[in-house]
Structures are given as structure tokens and as C-alpha cells.
Point group: C2
């Protein structure tokens, strides 16, 4: 009837309960998003409105200097700031606090207001991933920053109402318990068994094949054995790399191909669902050899409620093998 | 500008960023829920439809045998089942699984279709909490169950569309990593310092006063120093108790008073927001002296997105002291 599966990286148990299946046809019957114009004169991220976003910290210029491919600007409502000058933690009994020093930037992914990642040309997805690498390396060079997170929220259920394609980078002085704990899990496995558990997982998954969604020379996209929800996807570099900052140019192009292929399968197979993706990478302070970065895509189909909050477990209403088989079967248009 | 605070129990960092404040007046202007009838002939949880929910496992009868105060029935779409007969975990390389043995019951909180906890008489809230104790103790008596979770989802943003007041109990054979980790945190503090960290937190908070929402002889309700969101509330027993199963009759009455007072402040002060609450209690297998159970209420005002998913951190847009001061100031009608 149902099965509990353990995610060996996050150490979370997931209840696979297909009785409540999230069926692909339920998505096809959802209303589509309203169509957008390629340019919105009121959008602060559209070309011509660059003055509305001051302090541009990076841009990838377009060919022949005709504008830009991507821009990086501070978030208008930053949760952290580089202007905090007191880095010292404060301790008072059980109360521990530190001023909110850090980075909170927005990556404007394209001049086009109406494109989602699945519909961009491969070169544009590559430009986004090169911009991520630049931001990752810039943050890594600041010794005050302990952890760097790159992520994208797509759609209202994923936490954004701003439609112009954008991602975010948040870098913090503290390294969260969750991040430290997952790094320690990989370190412990390495110390005990002499190999990276994620390198082994990649090898095992490619050999077994049933949870693979997309494979190329440098990357494998798969539905994890203990996926936390339907169509949850991990994209791993096949080469062992601790930090996203290490990705080379060939790998950027291959990651763009893998990410675009997967997001096109979600877009055409599940009617453009809301999703989050995050790049889980080693923070600066960790020796790179001990982690193995990956990109995690979580379509926002179900809502975490009291059970997930109280138990730290998840309920997934599809078998990961079925989610992967469905995604493999999705035919996407050429382009 | 912003401040990071550490939750010493969950070990999560929270970014307190009041620039994006969740203001009480924003809630007052939300549309109210549509009014409900006291009885809905189509509702499976309403009196007269008891035959639609087979296998009732418990009921608290009404006075003079005139019906019932609460009923417990199996969830119609259970994620776990007592009928699984193979409790042996399966291991195959990195894949670990076990059949979905466990309990997934619904607690029907009242015969009245239209009441929410905030509007129930104190005696009804007491009946619900006595029913919780019965379920907790029944699950504790089954040696195959390792963890027991009692929780309530109120409203669509909290994960339920069923309006008849109900809670759920889920008991699993496995104990999740999150639960084991939090228990270990309390055990470690006890071993190092010779006292329960939550007993100390209760004492410190009552002495400082600024985050207290409600206080009675047996319970204290407060906004945690590192609350994960605005109006996040913890209710602690002032007596050190590892397990909810240990609560005595006087304490049940006092918890009913505390929970009802807090939920009335949310209801009248924030226009009946959606919320989850969970009872975090020691699982059966843990020595009771080493944990300190509590009830956690999380109003669903903000949505976790890529940042929370990828970092294991939270962003709270109000200072906990301000949330507590607002809740203390809310005047609720008599009754």
C-alpha cells in the first residue's frame, strides 16, 4: 500500500503513498498562465528601465555591445546587507544573534519579459549559468561569507509574483545547521567507505536506469529514490566537484542542456508548473573534495502541512520510478 | 537593518527582516471566510453520517449519552496502515525502505460543523485535548510504533480544504532524523549543564516577559526568540514532562485555557488566519526525562520558497517581541 524510503543524503524518510496520486492529466487541465508581452514598460527588470535598479553589480553584455544578456542587481527588499559593520555574534543566556551581514542579489536572467527557462534558447540558459558561476566565485572571494545559495522561484506557489525571469543569490556569514549536517553526512561516508556517496549514487542510478530523466556527457538528471514529492529532480555533475564555482565552460554548456531539457519536460508534460530550484554547493569554508554539488528542482504540487512540519518527513504521492518514466515519455517540441 | 537569531532547540538560524513587515492591518482587510451552517448533511463528520466513517476507534460520549463530543476514525486516504504485516526494513546498496506500517487517524473535534477552536466553549477544547491524550497513550502501548505526532491543519494555506473541525494523529515505526536530532539536542544540554534547556527557556522567558503571550498555572504561551515566522507561538508545560501522554486532568484544563486564549487572539486579532499546530513530544522509545514536550502553532502567512528549501533557514518579517506585544494587546470578546 505505502512504502517508506530513506534519503541517504538528507536523512529524511519519505512516505510513498500512491493512493493520492498526482496524475499528469490533472496538470493538463489546469488553466494556463496568461500570455505576457515580450517587453513591459512598467517592469523594473525590462530593458530601458535599468535606472530603476541602481548599483548593478554585474552584467553579461550581449554580442556587439547591443545591451545585455543578464544583469545582477541588489534585491529591492534585501533580507541581508553588505553594509552591516558589526560581524560579532551576541550571546546572552540562550539568546544568540548576529547582525544581518550578507549578500541578497537578484539575477535578471534575460531582457525578455515573457520567456521562462524552458522556452529560452540554449545560449541564454548558458548565460544564466555563467552568471551564477561569476556570483559564486565573487562571494567565495569574500572571507566573511560562509555559505552561498543560488536559487530560483517560479510562479506564485513557489513564492514569487514577479514574472520577469529572475533568480536570486543569498550569501550568509553563518552556515546553517542543515547545510553543515549534509556536508558532514558526505564527509562521514567518505571517511568510512573511501568514496563519495553521491559519486556512487550517480553510478548506481545510471546502471539501474529506472529513475533517470536525462543524461549527457557531464550531467545526469534523475528522480531521487526517496524523492520528497512527485517530479522532484536532482541534477548531478558526473565529475566529482565540491563547489559550483569549479564548473568549467564545457560543463556550463552541458548543464544548460540538462537543465533546459528537464524544465522543458516539466513545462510541456505538466503545463508549466510552479517550481523552485536550488544549487546545493559546498560553502567556501569547506574543503571542496568532501562535497559534491547538485541542482535540486522541486515542482510545487503539494503543500507541506502539519505532518511535514511536525515530523520532518514528507509524503510523496507517486513512485519515483513512475515520475521518471512519465518525464522520459514527454515529447517536447524541437527548439 | 536585519538580525540573525539562532533557535537553540531546532538549531535553525532565522533572519529577522522587519522591512517586509506582516502588518496586522493587512489581515484585517482580508476577506473573511464564508459563514457555515452548524450542520451539513453532506459532511461525513457531521452527526447522522457516522456510518460514512467506518471503524470508529474511539469516542468521547456527550453527557447523558446524547451523542458524542469527539470521535476518532481512520483517515479515508491513509498514508500508513496497521494492515502492513512486514516490518522488516529492506536494504540494497544506497536504497533503504520499509513497508508503510503505522497509524493515520482523524480526530473529529466536535459535532458542530461551523465551530473553529477559537469559538468553541472551553469544555470542548478540553474534550479534544483529552482525546489527544487517549490516542497518544494507545499508540504508546504499541511497541511497533516509534513516534507519534498529533497535529491540526486549519484552512487551505495550512493544507486542508475540509472545514469540519478535525485534527490528525500519525504514528510511524521509524523515528525521523529531525525528531531524533532535536531529542539529542535536549539530551546533550542535559548531560552538559545538568538541567533541561526548555525548563531554563521557560524560566528565562517568564522573567524577561517581552515575548510572553499568555500565562497560567501550568502553561506558558510565547513567541520564540528565533520564531520562524510572524506570530509563531510555542506553548510549554511549566512542569517538566517528556511526553504528552503524561498530562494530568488539571493540566488538560489549563492547556485548553491557554490554547483557546492564544487561538482567540489569532482569530480576533488577525482575522482567522490559516494555521498548523503540532504537538512535539518524546516518542515512546525515548526516556521521558530527557525531552520536554510542547505545542507549536505556525500561522501560514508567508510561504517557504527556494531560500528556505536550499538553506534550511527562515525569514521572519517581524521582531518576535513585536508579534508578542501585538498579541498581548488583542482584546477578545468574553466567552
Amino acid at each position: 500500500m505505502s512504502e517508506l524510503r530513506l534519503n541517504v543524503v538528507t536523512k529524511e524518510w519519505v512516505i510513498i503513498a500512491p493512493g493520492r496520486a498526482t496524475r499528469p492529466k490533472d496538470f493538463k487541465s489546469r488553466p494556463s498562465r496568461p500570455p505576457l508581452a515580450a517587453h513591459d514598460p512598467d517592469c523594473p527588470f525590462c530593458p530601458g528601465n535599468e535606472h530603476l535598479t541602481t548599483e548593478e553589480s554585474f552584467r553579461l553584455p550581449a554580442a556587439l555591445d547591443a545591451g545585455w544578456q543578464t544583469r545582477v542587481v541588489p534585491n529591492r527588499f534585501p533580507v541581508l546587507s553588505r553594509d552591516q559593520t558589526n560581524p560579532a555574534p551576541r550571546h546572552d543566556g540562550l539568546k544568540h544573534a548576529v547582525d544581518g551581514f550578507g549578500v541578497h542579489d537578484v539575477i535578471i536572467e534575460t531582457p525578455r519579459h515573457d520567456l521562462t527557462t524552458a522556452l529560452m534558447p540554449p545560449s541564454q540558459v548558458e548565460a544564466i549559468l555563467r552568471t551564477y558561476r561569476n556570483r559564486y566565485q565573487v562571494c567565495q572571494a569574500d572571507p566573511r561569507l560562509g555559505h552561498i545559495l543560488l536559487f530560483k522561484n517560479h510562479g506564485p506557489a513557489a513564492g514569487t509574483s514577479l514574472v520577469h525571469p529572475h533568480s536570486q543569490v543569498v550569501a550568509t556569514s553563518v552556515v546553517s545547521y542543515q547545510v553543515r549536517d549534509r556536508i558532514r553526512t558526505l564527509e562521514d561516508h567518505q571517511a568510512l567507505y573511501g568514496h563519495c556517496v553521491l559519486c556512487k549514487m550517480v553510478d548506481d542510478e545510471i546502471a539501474e536506469g529506472v529513475r533517470i530523466v536525462h543524461l549527457n556527457e557531464s550531467f545526469v538528471a534523475l528522480v531521487p529514490y526517496a524523492a520528497l514529492s512527485s517530479y522532484h529532480i536532482w541534477i548531478f555533475p558526473r565529475r566529482h566537484m565540491g563547489s559550483y564555482g569549479e564548473i568549467n565552460d564545457v560543463e556550463v554548456a552541458n548543464l544548460a542542456a540538462s537543465l533546459r531539457a528537464v524544465l522543458r519536460k516539466l513545462y510541456f508534460g505538466l503545463n508549466d508548473p510552479d517550481f523552485n530550484y536550488v544549487i546545493r554547493s559546498s560553502p567556501r569554508t569547506c574543503s571542496n573534495g568532501e562535497f559534491h554539488w547538485y541542482l535540486s528542482i522541486v515542482p510545487r504540487l503539494a503543500r507541506a502541512a502539519g505532518f511535514e512540519l511536525g515530523s520532518g518527513m514528507y509524503v510523496n504521492d507517486s513512485y519515483p520510478e513512475d515520475s521518471a518514466a512519465f518525464l522520459r515519455s514527454v515529447q517536447v517540441p524541437d527548439g
